[in-house]
Amino acid sequence: MSFLRVSWLVFRKDLTVEVRSFEILATSIFFAVSAVLFFAVAFVQEGRALDGAAPGILWIAVAFAGTLALGRTFERERQAETLQALLLAPADRPAIYVGKLLGIVTLLVTTEVVLLPLIAYLFQAPLFARAGWLAAVLLAGTVGYCAVGTLFAAMLVRVRSRDVLLPVLLYPITIPVIIAGVRATSVLLEPELDVAMIRFWLSLMAAYDVVFITLALWSFEPLMTE
């Protein structure tokens, strides 16, 4: 079976399992929405939001929901002991990684679609004014965040205190994506669009995505071998 076919099959399997119960999607969205509501309580006073708060809150909510989704996705595989079976299958291991990555990116993008109008409403941020750019920024950032997250979550399946350790591993490594995401989103909220700036942040995120996906594909095999 070719590389892309294996990835597609893993992705479709995850999607089918998720659509049957919506467990991860529902909990992640609920978690992200409550986080945003907490921020609204803290930072919106007398109907006015804190200047420049919206991009930070958007990315914090995405990062937190992402941690939750990553943990749950692999927890499900662990409980059913299907990850071992998946790894034993006569398929390229990196292809399995790519399939998992696609599944988690899909979950997070869906969560973001729910979050965006909520944040735009609560913090009076014109998030949809440059929707195309914003979509590109969010996608690039989410892929980068999940590229690292999928690898670490997969490795953590065999480790004891995996729930606490996932954020411990993930947050220091994803600092550049979060910086780039927050900065790029704030550039998009400015009245005048600085195209050079937004292109700079986008290419930085794209470079991050490419380098870390390559690294993950390269090290997935030795890391997942017992």
């Binding site: 350790l165 220091p172 550049p176 910086i179 930085l204």
Partner: protein
């Protein structure tokens, strides 16, 4: 422990005892005055922090791609020293900056990247300590990704204001400031080598202990 260990530790202790005298006798810097004297410990500890991080990363990659348990022990030992020397650099830096820049902390490239590297090392130790079986590979992966992360932190923070002095101050140091600086750098380097050896020794003994336990059962 090998033969060189004891005399080397005595020499290292002596160097650390002598270094404050040399530093006290060095001239004051023209714009920063007394507070610049922190640099005689700040810069060496920051350099050793970097050296330890490189040692940890290289050892991790070698362990990950087929190296033996020896590399893993070195990586763990070096990670602990990254945390130690990183803490020194990250605490002495703000104390200097408070006077020289007027602020404790600045989101400058070097500061942000150092803080990130230090956090990765702390995460490495947390994983190794609380991860249980399988955490050796996990730590190695973390070290690998942490190394790959450094250029991105540099680029992403680079457009923010950079006020940290350049490292080019070091070769331009006049002799009166250069001697105490290089002396304390030598002391820190020797200290790093000694501590690394001691820490690796601890891991070796632990491995021996495990082997004895296994042979008993």
């Amino acid at each position: 422990m090998s033969k060189w260990f004891f005399p080397a530790s005595v020499a290292c202790a002596l160097m650390f005892a002598v270094s404050p005298i040399l530093i006290a006798n060095a001239p004051f810097e023209s714009t920063m005055g007394l507070v610049q004297k922190i640099s005689y410990y700040h810069m060496p500890s920051a350099w050793i922090f970097l050296i330890a991080a490189v040692v940890c990363g290289v050892a991790s990659v070698r362990y990950l791609f087929g190296g033996g348990a020896r590399h893993d022990r070195v990586a763990w030992a070096a990670a602990e020293l990254v945390v130690l020397f990183g803490a020194m650099a990250l605490v002495t830096g703000p104390l200097w900056a408070r006077k020289a820049w007027g602020v404790w902390w600045q989101w400058d490239v070097r500061l942000t990247a150092s803080l990130m590297g230090w956090m990765v090392a702390v995460a490495y130790i947390l994983v190794r300590k609380y991860g249980g079986p399988g955490s050796d590979k996990l730590g190695a992966g973390l070290a690998l990704f942490g190394m790959a992360n450094v250029p991105f932190v540099y680029v992403s923070v680079n457009y923010w204001r950079t006020i940290h002095p350049k490292t080019t101050v070091v070769p331009t140091l006049p002799l009166s400031m250069g001697i105490p600086f290089w002396f304390s750098f030598a002391a820190f380097l020797l200290l790093f080598i000694l501590l690394l050896r001691m820490r690796v020794r601890l891991e070796e003994q632990r491995a021996e202990l495990d082997a004895v336990y296994l042979s008993l059962e």
